[in-house]
């Protein structure tokens, strides 16, 4: 399951539906296991897994008829070919845990509301008496800060 986070990040980014993501990731693992013999040692494993994931994502869109309007076939192919190889690596998850602890109390609170409590922007804004715009900006900045922190951690630890 070493690649679970990687495939989940890849599929979830494109599908943006937690239930469908779990189903697709499950199917990807089945296909990867079934086709393991056809993977050529020495070639790029991540690219191979992403290509299987792309196929399963398309199959899901085809079956569910729920392809997001913004994600055309042309754009999907561009995104797949440019997906970072380190996407969702377990080392990045570890780094993220440390970085969350470094967020300001306010950003940490908003991240908690968003991801632990599952609250939408409007609901968060109401609960802390902010404007939705202010909540969006703070959440966006918090994510950027977290990404930069993860990159720094990875470089410092020599994971990259």
């Amino acid at each position: 399951m070493r690649n679970y986070g990687k495939i989940r990040a890849f599929v979830g980014s494109l599908v943006r539906d937690p239930v469908a993501t779990e189903d697709i990731v499950h199917n990807v693992f089945l296909v990867v296991t079934k086709k393991a013999d056809s993977f050529k040692l020495g070639t790029n494993f991540t690219a191979w897994v992403f290509s299987i994931s792309r196929f399963e994502v398309l199959r899901h869109f085809d079956k569910s008829k729920k392809q997001p309007r913004w994600l055309s076939q042309e754009l999907l192919d561009m995104l797949v070919s440019e997906a970072p190889e380190v996407l969702g690596d377990s080392s990045r998850q570890v780094a993220l845990r440390r970085c969350i602890e470094k967020l300001s109390p306010r950003s940490k609170q908003l991240i908690h509301h968003r991801y632990m409590d599952g609250m939408k922007t409007g609901a968060i804004a109401k609960s802390i008496n902010w404007t939705p715009q202010a909540v969006s900006v703070t959440l966006s900045r918090a994510r950027v800060a977290l990404r930069e922190c993860v990159e720094k951690q990875i470089r410092r630890e020599g994971w990259a």
């Binding site: 990040a9 980014s13 943006r16 937690p18 729920k66 966006s140 993860v150």
Partner: protein, 480 residues
């Protein structure tokens, strides 16, 4: 924060409008930098989700929910658990629920539980904690997202997919006010009712789905029988099909049930192949020509042989030869016994790709000597087609075992696999192999004392989401 940041934020919150989706798409199509920022933002978003999912405290559960979630690790555990479940049912779930009533309520609802949430996938509720599992007292509930599984004392189970609005107030009744549910009602729970604003769907031992949307109810029968009742109007469905109704004057049947549209409850089905080989049977005619019959090479059911006793019950299967005739040694190296399992009753489950199969058999042999064969095996040949005569093999699961020389030691082999969605039948084979040497002479018995017992077959169905047909989503949106 530039425009792309704003749109990314909207995307992550699932709040992109139609115009914003078009704008976002154009930005990404025209800029590699924008696509890089998409992956950056999305990766952090996904990792944050994963991190918080892992951090979230486990939901409150009671013993039965925990037992229902536990994966069966051995046939003994499985059998013991089934017995315990039976005892629990006999004693009445009320006792179990009374115990949980004494616990501190964690969700603000109090009172005797009407049903229990025994499974959840990514659920969020208006009133309950995320991923809630545990007893549910009478009350009105709003499931916002995800799939939840409700389990009633009778054994009836329902998978509800968010958004869904339902009420629990009567025993063995689900009041579904909006949303959709897939239900499995075992024989003992016949009479379970799904009550909707348009009328009742009464179960008569079955698998079915109910959707309430756009001021109408759709009832789809997948297997068994249901009755739809609205005012004076009653309609009984005994073949798979669908009925839509608004009231007693507005019933329509469109003929086709769509199982994939409905969520699927987690469940287990015991297959008819399950056998202790306790009944005398006719053997040695070759390959069986129909479902539900054991046949193959020479064999017999015995109660004791060469110091070996059955693992359970009064009988066990004794492998005799690798050909149909008892005393005709063959160049073949396996004594094979076959059984066709009809998957038709489970097609609505299998076609969802959500069904795994488990087949297990225990083997034993006499101690013998250095020339005594030691190997056994079990195979499941997965077929598609309309009958055993035109079946086309599409997959095979197999496992072999070398047994020890202890005659008291029954050794178990189990095969597991996900059934391909097109599977319609399975040919199960159990084998004893002449793995040492095919050394018998004409007139001699090939296998000195080789046995099979406790064959178990079951299907395990995973909790699955259904999909809303696109046209109905549009209709619902228009109706809002």
């Amino acid at each position: 924060m530039d425009r792309l940041d704003t749109l990314l934020e909207q995307l992550l919150n699932q709040e992109l409008s139609e115009e914003e989706e078009a704008e976002f798409k154009a930005l990404l199509l025209n800029s590699a930098e924008a696509r890089r920022r998409f992956w950056d933002a999305s990766e952090i978003d996904m990792m944050l989700r994963e991190h918080h999912d892992a951090e979230r405290p486990p939901p409150p559960t009671v013993a039965a929910a925990a037992a229902a979630k536990k994966k069966w690790t051995s046939p003994v555990a499985f059998a013991v658990s089934i017995c315990l479940l039976g005892i629990l049912l006999l004693l009445g779930w009320q006792a179990l629920f009374n115990q949980s009533r004494n616990q501190e309520p964690k969700h603000g609802f109090v009172g005797a539980p009407m049903a229990e949430v025994s499974g959840s996938r990514d659920t969020t509720w208006q009133q309950l904690p995320k991923q809630f599992e545990g007893p549910l007292p009478a009350g009105e509930y709003h499931l916002q997202t995800g799939i939840t599984q409700l389990h009633w004392p009778s054994g009836a189970t329902a998978a509800l997919q968010g958004p869904a609005h339902f009420v629990l107030k009567e025993a063995e009744v689900l009041d579904l006010l909006a949303g959709q549910a897939g239900l499995h009602v075992p024989e003992g729970a016949i009479g379970f009712i799904v009550r909707t604003p348009n009328g009742d769907v009464v179960d008569h031992g079955t698998d079915f789905g109910v959707r309430v949307a756009d001021n109408k109810t759709d009832a789809h029968l997948f297997a068994g029988e249901i009755e739809v009742v609205s005012g004076e109007q009653r309609l009984r469905l005994s073949d798979p099909g669908a009925v839509a109704f608004r009231d007693a004057t507005d019933f329509s049947t469109d003929g086709s049930a769509k199982p994939a549209s409905f969520p699927l409850p987690r469940q287990e089905r015991i297959l008819a192949v399950t056998s202790g080989f306790d009944q005398p049977a006719r053997w040695g005619s070759g390959r069986p020509q129909d479902f539900g019959i054991w046949d193959g090479d020479a064999a017999e059911v015995v109660s004791s042989f060469g110091g070996v006793r059955p693992k359970e019950g009064s009988g066990m299967l004794r492998f005799i030869a690798s050909a149909a005739g008892k005393t005709s040694p063959s160049e073949l190296i396996a004594s094979q016994h076959l059984y066709w399992i009809d998957i038709a009753p489970y097609r609505h489950l299998v076609e969802r790709g959500a069904v795994s199969i488990s087949l297990a058999c225990s083997f034993n042999r006499v101690k013998g000597d250095r020339s005594t064969d030691t190997q056994f095996g079990i195979l499941a040949n997965i077929y598609k087609g309309s009958g055993v005569k035109d079946a086309e093999e599409i997959q095979q699961f197999t496992k072999k075992l070398h047994t020890n020389a202890n005659e008291k030691d029954w050794e178990r082999v189990e095969i597991n696999g996900i059934l391909p969605p097109e599977c319609t039948m399975i040919e199960l084979e159990i084998h004893a192999y002449e793995n040492i040497t095919n050394n018998v002479q004409s007139g001699e018995i090939e296998f000195a004392g080789h046995f099979a017992d406790s064959l178990e077959g079951r299907l395990m169905v995973d909790l699955r989401a259904g999909f809303w047909p696109e046209d109905e989503i549009l209709q619902m949106e228009k109706g809002r």
